[in-house]
Symmetry: none
Subunit: 212 residues, 4 copies
Amino acid sequence: MPEPLVPPAVPPAAAAADAGPHLRADARRNRAAILAAAEEAFSTLGPDAPVDEIARRARVGVGTFYRNFPTKEALLRAMVVAHIEPMVEAARAAAADDQPGEAVFTLLRNLARELSAFRPVADAVAASGMDVHAKGGATSDRLLAAVDAALTRAKQAGAMRLDVGVDEVAAMMGALCMSDIAAREPATFHRCVDVLCDGLRPVRAGTPGARP
Amino acid sequence: MPEPLVPPAVPPAAAAADAGPHLRADARRNRAAILAAAEEAFSTLGPDAPVDEIARRARVGVGTFYRNFPTKEALLRAMVVAHIEPMVEAARAAAADDQPGEAVFTLLRNLARELSAFRPVADAVAASGMDVHAKGGATSDRLLAAVDAALTRAKQAGAMRLDVGVDEVAAMMGALCMSDIAAREPATFHRCVDVLCDGLRPVRAGTPGARP
Amino acid sequence: MPEPLVPPAVPPAAAAADAGPHLRADARRNRAAILAAAEEAFSTLGPDAPVDEIARRARVGVGTFYRNFPTKEALLRAMVVAHIEPMVEAARAAAADDQPGEAVFTLLRNLARELSAFRPVADAVAASGMDVHAKGGATSDRLLAAVDAALTRAKQAGAMRLDVGVDEVAAMMGALCMSDIAAREPATFHRCVDVLCDGLRPVRAGTPGARP
Amino acid sequence: MPEPLVPPAVPPAAAAADAGPHLRADARRNRAAILAAAEEAFSTLGPDAPVDEIARRARVGVGTFYRNFPTKEALLRAMVVAHIEPMVEAARAAAADDQPGEAVFTLLRNLARELSAFRPVADAVAASGMDVHAKGGATSDRLLAAVDAALTRAKQAGAMRLDVGVDEVAAMMGALCMSDIAAREPATFHRCVDVLCDGLRPVRAGTPGARP
DNA sequence: CATGAATGAGTTTTCATTCAT
DNA sequence: AATGAATGAAAACTCATTCAT
């Protein structure tokens, strides 16, 4: 059974701070601080959180911000990677799990949590005009592929309906997690995720025409 | 059977132009033009579409804009109302329909269309920092209540599962329509809506423990 | 003899304020004020005079600056035109003068004055990275053509050496006026202009020690 | 006859690297590298070439830059000296030459070349707001004095007109070399230098149509 | 009333200079 | 002594809002 693949509540900044290969200790600390501050700023201030504010929260001059990220867009890209990468790992682990049936559903629940945390960043990305599906395409494609693999194995194990594809799963999970219910009404949100997962299980035998 | 509850493709600006009780003809025309222009601007330019641009598209000076809406936020509020009101009407009609079973599902499909069209506005609202659920709360509550009534009647008619509430339906429908799939992948979007509707139908007899 | 074709010391801002066809009175005043302030600012503060400062000197908000000139570069272009246009006029008048011999030399002396006043702008243009010879090419070409015409008529009248072209005259006049002697040492500057003009006169037969 | 007074194409950085009396070998190398890099940077990037860029081109950290030059202005001063000093030497050599007649003209042609190479630096100096004539005054005065001496000896030798002074020669040569014709139109530039030199030769008695 | 010019705070980004490693 | 990370004061430009015409 897949262990808590990704450190649950920890902002993924730390994980992604090691972007540059050879970075001085303080530089690495700053990079991480900026990523964390950005996370916080976008959550608190919305998608238009100014760079100055992010720098201030990271207790860093604007100059340092721009030394680490040549552009606000560069920061956003780094944040996307920082968020998506662990999800890809988790999805791959789930696909490789020897109990694929349970693994997918645990994966989906984990993804739900991670995606919810990703929302502010995604909004900022959208607001900044850059197209996630164009730029980070590679990135999000990799996630999709990994999830697809996990779904496929679950189907082979007979733990999932055959008539739904990644596209639908991604669309509905994505939509749900990008909406503000996740933040506003966690209880309702989790119930929705459950319903969604539930709907993916195979229709039991002897159920005449249950669902087309 | 529910007639075309809401004038389908027509932008809802015209409908809501009559906000003020006694407005001179040209004033009303201006208000409507601004609302329509705003609709277009947010769709084209994104949630940060500037006031100047909206005025320009409405073929109106900025001054006129501010005579009609004291604030950009006021415009957004008006747009929210303009979008939600027809949906409320539709929901009420569905609740009053004498074939409640079919009426809800038609309603939901109509809401899906309307909500998708509402997305640019909702994004602008979100970006502007104002909380829809605080400010326009009354408005969205009324929609929720109307939909709830329709759902209840459908349940009474045995056309819908008893174990899902408005909250879940709203959450999932809302999420789906506010996500960008609606615009990006209409086909996938419609399939998701179908799946969702489908999942609301009652579990047929002889289906042992199909879904909890 | 050509009268002082161009209002000598007056900054050419006023002359060029009428760039837009239909401009409100105050708007036109502002445009002129900005051009004048820019002239002053570049002279005083050097080629990197900030936009804010120009606006301040024009007693105008930055916003007004940017309403009048969408870009700092646009301001510079306008200033170039404002400076070059009168010179073109002067050159054409000189070419049309019925005493072409005297007209050219008066013209050159006038151009010397105008070009000296143009220097701060030219420096700002150069510093801003835009290429005068590419962008305003049309403009400076027109000046060159007009001067060429005047030179040609003077040659025909036997008042000028035949073995020098516009290119050389422009190069030397331009260089002299763009250098800082004009501002730093007016006396030396004028002597140099005289020498230059003097060198353009035809070499008289049998005139020993002709030039003073 | 004056030998190649100044090492023609070699950037004068090396020559001026020995500003400090006792500098360790690598320190001297750094200083020279920075001066050379600055030369290149100003030529390529214009008068506003940033310090970071100069350091980068010198393959040196900014810190090292500031260890060698306390200020960007200090660098500029050093560059001015590095350029002017060889010219002073050349002028002195010309003044001491035993064929003063030819020496001056060779000198002037050499100065033309050196001054043209000096332009980017001079522009940077001008853009930086520092006044060459105030700060480096001593320096440029020494050049002027040396040239004056050379001119005087040429006049004594009857090789030059008596009615022009250093001021005029300096003004015109300086202007010509600081203008962008030197870089843009070398052919025209050289013709202008020739004309200028030509104009300095004594007017022969009874020489009709003396100048080609 | 309508218009669009004016305003200025706020945004992203650059660069000379300082200072910890 | 060298390095390059950190700093923060500008600079160019945008946009919601006000106000003279």
